[in-house]
Symmetry: C2
Subunit: 330 residues, 2 copies
């Protein structure tokens, strides 16, 4: 079973921070649109799939391809978004993360974690063995880096952009740390405070589900899942039952510290080795140049399909087919 946890944070509205939407304002709709696209030919809340300003398609297309091939169940979870997705989903909260330069990001952290834990506990009764948890959270690599820094990890998170806006992220984080009156590593033993000050509702939800559920957890994502793993570790959890599964594009990204930070944290990771270099579509070929990289649990969904006997080529072909269908219906 796979979960896709949706989160919004006002941080995605800071110009230049996120390209998980055609405009900063549209990043508000990206999580529900991603979720809806997994179930329908196109989203419902808006008539087009989420794209970057340059038109690169959402990684939800990979998740959808893997789902359609391998037919595993996906449950959408609204960790905290502006709008409810127009598909059945588990409601955890409608709290959106605030701009942490100006105020605490998520005063509702405990409420979200408690509720998500209760949901994770119910899952134990289903004998699922393992769950895969992906996410869609525009601006989430900035909140992730802020949380990692607060917890004392000298990490650089990835970006859906070809040019990781690290200088901007670091400026924003510096302003947040100044507002909160803390220095890097100062919240090492205060993970809940780190989440309250700098986090987002996706992180709080994944932390909650992962603590309530007692089986193996695949954290399906890139550097944002490092922040989740760091929070779980700081909360006293063992990381043995967690594996981060991401994509080749995150692993290869030289602008981020995925491998170093994962190794520092002591969390196992794997990646799906998809290759879009031969795609007919520039939007997909550009994934090989470093656009988009990961999201909506793309790596973990691919991993689930591989586990069920499909190959990377099967997934690539299915993605091509889905993209073709989208361009035809434009």
């Amino acid at each position: 079973m796979m979960f896709v946890v949706l989160g919004n944070t006002e941080v995605s509205l800071i110009p230049g921070i996120s390209i998980a939407g055609a405009t900063a304002e549209l990043t508000k709709l990206t999580p529900p649109a991603d979720a809806e696209y997994l179930f329908y030919e196109r989203p419902k809340i808006i008539d087009t799939i989420p794209v970057t300003p340059e038109g690169h398609p959402t990684p939800a297309i990979i998740t959808k391809a893997a789902k359609e091939l391998a037919n595993f169940p996906i449950i959408v979870v609204r960790g905290g978004t502006y709008l409810a997705p127009l598909v059945p989903h588990v409601h955890i909260s409608s709290y959106v993360g605030r701009d942490f330069r100006k105020e605490k990001a998520l005063p509702e952290t405990r409420e979200i974690i408690d509720r998500a834990s209760l949901f994770g506990e119910e899952l134990n009764k289903l004998n699922l063995g393992e769950v895969v948890i992906g996410e869609s959270t525009p601006g989430g690599t900035t909140t992730a880096q802020a949380v990692l820094w607060a917890l004392g990890y000298d990490a650089k998170t990835s970006s859906a952009s070809l040019d990781n806006p690290q200088p901007l992220k670091e400026k924003v984080i510096a302003e947040g740390f100044k507002r909160a009156g803390i220095k890097e590593g100062e919240l090492k033993d205060k993970p809940l405070t780190a989440l309250e000050e700098f986090g987002d509702p996706m992180m709080a939800t994944v932390v909650g589900i992962a603590r309530g559920f007692k089986g193996r957890v695949i954290l399906a994502g890139g550097t944002q899942m490092l922040a989740v793993a760091a929070l779980l570790r700081a909360m006293g959890g063992e990381l043995e039952r967690f594996t981060i599964v991401t994509t080749k594009w995150v692993i290869k990204d030289k602008s981020s510290t995925f491998k170093e930070t994962a190794e520092g944290l002591g969390v196992e990771y794997q990646y799906a080795n998809l290759d879009f270099s031969k795609s007919k579509f520039k939007g997909l070929r550009d994934y090989e140049r470093g656009y988009v990289k990961e999201g909506v649990g793309a790596g973990g969904a691919a991993w689930l399909a591989l586990k069920r006997g499909f190959t990377e080529r099967d997934i690539e072909r299915k993605v091509e087919e889905l993209y073709e269908k989208l361009t035809k219906n434009l």
Copy 2:
């Protein structure tokens, strides 16, 4: 796995129709409070469990007792309520059924059914075999009777009251039929219209889940589930994979036509044979006089616990214990 589908309808606000709340206004809070009580020592949205105006406790106490004994998972589903329950839940809609004397009850019927079907389809991938679906819908026996009449069943639905307000229900239904310009049985072949005109979001949600899910479905409720079964049959579904599981108190109720209507419909039924006559508490002993009777899937939850090797006496003892805890904390 058990689902509890929450629904509200403005019909519960008609004076004298529903006692599923201490006042008519409080019936708005009954579904979320019932859901929360299943997971916590008391509800969150309000500090007391739902009671009738005379103080009889919600049948959620039976569902909770069965759940705590047999440890089966319960997933709360918000079919359509005024307020979201403060527990993790599957969100289908926030549409509340309207007063059908004045306007169509549920113009959003198709949207709710489609979304709930999609959820049911995802459940097929979990190999659950069977699901139990209960409900909490104040005023729901009136909408159920209206739908049954529209579909041509000369049924009388039950009531949580000792005095089933049949004359009032019939007056309300007559006004609704007049407003809609139809006669009894006239929507026999138009189940969606019957739902739109007179239904409630619980019915639409259960119909949707039951159609999407392909395994065995236990409809855990009394006469309201007859309306669901009648809708499923009118929509061309076979009723072989459905069983209504209710309580002895519904079966014994002379003011309703549970058995006759179930037999007319050709749907199988069973009931849990709980007995509260020896309870220390008047609120529970009164169940034997005909108060409350059923709700929140009480009969189906008891049936699940019985299937897992517990006895009726175990459940009664657990209910007694839970009620004792509530009275102590008052």
